[in-house]
């Protein structure tokens, strides 16, 4: 009977803990702040709170003596948090790069049914038709702001180990610069139309060899000169740009892949879409550039997020057992001390709170350490991966404050689980036996 009761009690605790963990992960930051404030107030004002604080301070004062076991908790949790934050930062960085690319004031036109530029074909004779559609803004000279573009994938040796990587070589029209105002030349100058000159993105320059200004490059059996470097802080940073009318003949391509246009005012997109649908000669799709690039990050970001959380969860389970182990040992080691306190009149709640506070403090330390480590090592770490266009997208890990917060939450969650059971044991320790123990 007693055993059954104990089992049910244990089961109840586990279920309550699971519910608490789920609630904890869902909790927004202000609720967490409120909770922390509530606990702090209870600790300072209520009588049992004061007792708990006193008991906790005894335990915390003893931490340096048990530095080995404490370090296990701190470092174990730091490891989990660092891996989790780094993985999520990778997904976040990729998403941020593509989200920043494009805007709602410009649109990209692709052949109907194509998902990406590589798959699209727009015939030369379709370009003037597109230019005459409603909804497209016009420049000062009265010409439509439309840039017919070619995207060619080329092989360049990567900076890291010299293996071939696919790089986007974009041939652009004159309007391309007006269409992408975020793009700034940081070195050299723009290419001259009609010449085999290239400008390169800053990210591409960092990831692939031989892209310094003044260097010559052999592509399609022809020599090209790098004349400038631009920075746009989005996915164009991974590209090489040249004149579309030079790139086309070099690769024997007569058609374009996409036309990017500037939209005319708020209704521009609607008008353009309607006009495009109304013209039977143009079986084309149009999307705002923001939507187009955002859609391209979806799959990979989701994959990285799921992967990061699964790996983090397995590691967290390992760390929970480590924390449990250390805290059980700490409670066992201090059995006489705890029994003495209980004999002095400390009730169950203060004792439980004291052990919990101690574990949470260690978990917090671990969380801060891990998050700090991830931030120091990975924030701004540049990598590249294969994007939807069959070419490399260069992006940076982005350790945002939200991710650090997620990491801390995980750390405290691990501390909660790792501390609760040892805390309960401390509270149930039979006083007389513990006092007698050697």
């Amino acid at each position: 009977m007693k055993r059954l009761k104990g089992f049910l009690l244990g089961l109840g605790t586990v279920l309550a803990l699971l519910a608490a963990l789920v609630a904890w992960i869902m909790l927004p930051w202000y609720a967490v702040l409120g909770l922390a404030a509530f606990i702090a107030l209870w600790l300072v004002l209520a009588r049992s709170g004061k007792l708990a604080l006193a008991a906790a301070s005894i335990g915390i004062a003893g931490l340096p003596q048990r530095w080995g076991a404490s370090a296990v908790i701190v470092v174990g949790i730091a490891g989990v948090v660092a891996v989790l934050v780094a993985m999520l930062a990778m997904g976040e960085g990729f998403k941020a790069t593509l989200d920043k690319t494009g805007g709602t004031d410009s649109a990209i036109i692709l052949r109907g049914g194509s998902q990406a530029e590589t798959n699209s074909v727009i015939m030369r004779d379709q370009v003037p038709l597109i230019g005459s559609l409603a909804g497209i803004a016009r420049g000062a000279d009265g010409k439509p702001l439309a840039s017919p573009e070619l995207s060619q994938v080329v092989n360049l040796p990567s900076m890291a180990d010299g293996t071939d990587a696919n790089v986007q070589f974009r041939g652009v029209g004159e309007a391309a610069w007006t269409l992408r105002p975020q793009l700034k030349m940081i070195e050299g100058r723009r290419f001259q139309p009609g010449l085999r000159e290239i400008v390169v993105g800053r990210g591409a320059q960092q990831q692939f060899r031989g892209l310094q200004v003044g260097k010559q490059l052999e592509l399609a059996n022809q020599m090209w000169t790098v004349v400038g470097v631009f920075e746009s802080r989005d996915s164009h940073d991974s590209e090489l740009w040249t004149d579309a009318d030079v790139l086309g003949p070099a690769y024997q391509r007569s058609a374009f892949q996409s036309v990017t246009v500037k939209l005319d005012g708020k209704n521009g997109f609607k008008q353009l879409k309607a006009a495009l649908a109304a013209d039977p000669r143009l079986k084309l799709d149009v999307e705002t550039t923001h939507d187009y690039y955002a859609k391209q990050s979806e799959g990979l970001t989701k994959l990285i997020n799921i992967l990061g959380k699964v790996i983090g969860a397995i590691m967290a389970i390992g760390a929970v057992f480590g924390a449990l182990n250390s805290m059980y040992a700490a409670v066992a080691g201090r059995a006489r001390e705890i029994a003495t306190m209980r004999a002095l009149g400390f009730r169950g709640l203060p004792v439980v709170t004291a052990v919990m506070l101690e574990t949470m403090l260690l978990a917090l330390l671990g969380g801060l350490l891990g998050a700090g480590l991830a931030w120091l090592v990975f924030n701004g770490y540049t990598v590249s991966t294969l994007g939807q266009n069959f070419s490399q997208v260069v992006f940076q890990f982005k350790v945002s404050p939200e991710l650090l917060w997620t990491g801390l939450k995980w750390a405290l969650g691990i501390g909660l689980v790792g501390g609760l059971f040892p805390a309960l044991r401390a509270a149930r320790l039979p006083v007389t036996e513990a006092l007698r123990a050697a």
Binding site: G68, V75, G76, A165, G322, S384, Q392
Partner: protein, 385 residues
Amino acid sequence: MKYLHLIWAALFRSKTRTFLTLLSVIAAFLLFGMLDSVRVAFNSGGQVAGANRMITSSRLSITQMLPYSVVEQIRATPGVKQATYAAWFGGIYRDPKNFFPNFAVSPDYLDLYPEFALPQAQKKAWLADRTGAVVGEALAKRFGWKVGDTIPLQATIFPTKGSNDWSFTLRGIYTIKEQKQKGQENAMFFHWKYFDEANDYVKGRIGWLVVQPGSGDGADRVALAIDKLSANSDHETKTQSEAAFNQAFAKQFADIGLIVSGIMGAVFFTLLLLTGNTMAQAVRERIPELAVLKTIGFSNRSVLWLVLAESVLLVVLGGLIGLCIAAALVPMITTASGGMIQLPPMAMQTWLTGLLLMLVIGVIVGLLPAIRGMRLNIVDALAGR
């Protein structure tokens, strides 16, 4: 071996502690097994022992197509036993989420892939049907296709008569025995000839060639001879072994190996710390017991071995359980993802690396406590000093 029961008893002296340590070791090796499977999947892409295939593709870039004329030239090159060709089609079945690779290939393409088992009758039927297609068994199962079904595909690159709608008749379903290669059952092949005639944009162009050099000819020499054919033309080629080709492709998805080893490093460091702490604790608690052992005649060295064996046993036990769970989970991931992620079953290599790691970690973790046990001074230890 005769002390096994002693070690076992010592191991479970404190059940809670051993159990908890065991669980964290299990978690670490579970992660190791799964991550290493991912790494193996990325590194062994399409490698078949004895297949001896080379891929000839455009040197300019992977998306650049080659003129059909190179096929005859390459077939006539000395040292080339057989050369087949293929082109990427990139069609979509109903929804972009249903992605699977589909290619237009030459009629003899599957001859170079003897690991793809296609019943002779189905092969004949496929060759006889201009719009016929063959798919892998995994793919057929995923969409419930049977031989004779019509499969509509939406083109993303190549329209036909101004529309994106293509349709193929399923004529054969191939299977692959080798578990590691099961991922390739997720593809569809149809006739290049049909593709060439029906698509609106490209005529007389292929994506790449699969070349089999003669058995006596050095693959490197043949590759050089092939690439020399088109040197300085507008369609220069690059010929490399199939494995190198696949690996170069996989590498483009960010450095998988680096990420995996980074995570593994963090996991094992954590694990080392946890288990090391437990072992130190276990020895500390048992100092009087170890002293008794020494008193009744156990030598210093046997005490060292006893403690070491205990820690190795603990790590190996947890590690094996973890790897077993990983081995069970890996095929479940493949099933759960609906064929999107194809992981091979856990490789022998993963088991062996795992075992080696367990032994090494067990020794590292147990060494300090074991030395401490060995150096115990009986009198002091018994007196509890």
